[in-house]
Amino acid sequence: MKNRMTRYPSACFLLAFFFISCTGKPDSGEDPEVTSRGSIEVTAELQEIPGEFIDRSDYDYAFVMKYKVLEVHRGQLADSEYIYVGHYNPQKPRDAVSDARVDDVGGRLKKFNSGDIHRMALEMPIDDHFMGGIVNRYFDEYSGPVYWAVWTNPVSR
């Protein structure tokens, strides 16, 4: 009797492909950019996106989001559990976000979704690194430092 694996090779291949696609390959988000840019590097979970992004192609801005820190790879954080991070023009994929105004930001993240995990290279405070409109909907509840996202990669576990 022939082994089922050998009898239905294409079906097994499809099953394996489907399994890998569904589970996804773990990705720590590490790459030469995120490990070398900025003075701080963290892996953190995006806790929430506070409201809608502003969809105005002719006005640039940074949008502050709240993260729960999972791991600090480089540098030191002012607050070790939660951080507030400003992302430049968050409606754009990170690999298309740099422009004449801000030419040193990027990453592999395509879209921000709450609950996702990101590996980020950061600077602090945001005002030393970005000069423009900042949408900070946490202003009334948080007065600590806001970090500036230099590089943002997705993490899958």
């Binding site: 801005y61 004449a100 105004r101 005002d127 690194h129 900042i134 009334d140």
Partner: protein, 349 residues
């Protein structure tokens, strides 16, 4: 008898529908002519405008638009955003590489800072690309203040040394220095609102909000206690709810707000007050931002005493400001970022 009555009614109708409007138009033209004559010899305007070679150049004209002349006239550069020194004896502007698109929000970071005599002679380039961002004159024109990421720097023009640096406290563009040198104002992130125009006490670096929500391009009145700015108030139905940008006056405490000029269908930018405080110059443009990316807007002048003023039909705006006047207003030229000096300039006739 009946036919006579009908004839009289017809004449009355003709009078009200044809002659009265024509007469009103004629009155408006007369008023505009009066305004043009009134401002003619009240100093000079400087503004950026597209020249025949297609690049932006700096132009001078009398406030009535006469004696217009191109004082930079360079086909190899884009020159824009002129500012007279308070005494009117110097001019500064940004010089950008030919073909650069001027960004209406970032122009202060773009190109090189240039200074010259008010007639355009003796041009000097200070620093390189992007240096001295958002530079503005001190009262005696011996210093400039610049808005950098690290703070607001006051720089001695002769030594080029930074005399003082203070925190910018959220101000991110469009710096202006009050004539009495006690205050800065600029567009800032203030609390949870960006696009807030704030005033900063230079001595203490403390700021107070002048006007929140969609405001920019502030400039000082001669009294150092009022600011002119562009504002796009919320709740406008026009432009699919986006609204139109208007010109407003706000006092230094941010408590008294007054519409200066608005017109549904057009965005009003580049507001500046004449040195005697009696007139207002600005640009009207269909595009938001004042047209920096294209060819600017229409430069216009109105009297301060005729404000608040609403232009065009603007039914929504007239409903909000029922006491607003409709004119007179004069159009000067096509341009961007005008500025006004009372000084006499020995310009070529």
């Amino acid at each position: 008898m009946q036919s006579r009555i009908l004839l009289a009614l017809a004449h009355t109708a003709i009078f009200f529908f044809l002659i009265v409007p024509a007469s009103a138009q004629s009155d408006q033209a007369d008023e505009s002519l009066k305004l043009r004559e009134e401002v003619q010899n009240r100093g000079w305007l400087a503004y950026s405008s597209r020249s025949e070679n297609g690049t932006w150049d700096i132009f001078l004209s009398r406030p009535d638009g006469s004696q217009r002349q191109n004082i930079t006239n360079s086909a190899d550069y884009e020159e824009a955003a002129p500012r007279f020194s308070p005494a009117g004896d110097k001019l500064m502007y940004r010089r950008l590489p030919k073909g650069t698109t001027i960004n209406h929000d970032q122009w202060g970071f773009q190109g090189e800072l240039a200074t010259c005599n008010p007639d355009g002679s003796d041009p000097q380039i200070l620093g390189g690309e992007g240096d001295y961002p958002w530079a503005v004159w001190s009262a005696d024109a011996k210093k400039i203040a610049c808005l950098t990421k690290k703070g607001i720097q006051i720089i001695d023009l002769q030594s080029r040394e930074i005399e003082k640096q203070i925190p910018r406290n959220g101000i991110y563009q469009q710096l202006a220095w009050s004539p009495d040198e006690k205050w800065f104002c600029g567009t800032a992130n203030y609390k949870n609102e960006y696009w807030t125009v704030v005033r900063m006490n230079i001595e203490t670096s403390e700021i107070n909000a002048l006007r929140s929500y969609q405001n920019c391009t502030p400039d000082w009145y001669p009294d150092s206690n009022h600011v002119i700015l562009s504002s796009r108030p919320a709740g406008q139905a026009g432009a699919k709810g986006y609204g139109y940008t208007q010109l407003w006056e706000v006092d230094g405490e941010g408590k008294q707000h007054k519409l200066l000029y608005g017109e549904d269908g057009l965005h009003i930018y580049g507001g500046a007050v004449s040195p005697d405080g009696a007139y207002v110059i600005f640009t009207r443009c269909p595009e938001d931002g004042g047209g920096a990316e294209k060819s600017g807007g229409t430069l216009c002048i109105i009297r301060m005493k005729d404000t608040p003023m609403v232009g065009g039909e603007s039914p929504d705006l007239r409903q909000l400001h029922p006491d607003a006047k409709s004119g007179p207003m004069i159009e000067i030229d096509k341009g961007w970022e005008p500025h006004w000096t009372s000084a006499e300039i020995k310009a070529a006739p």
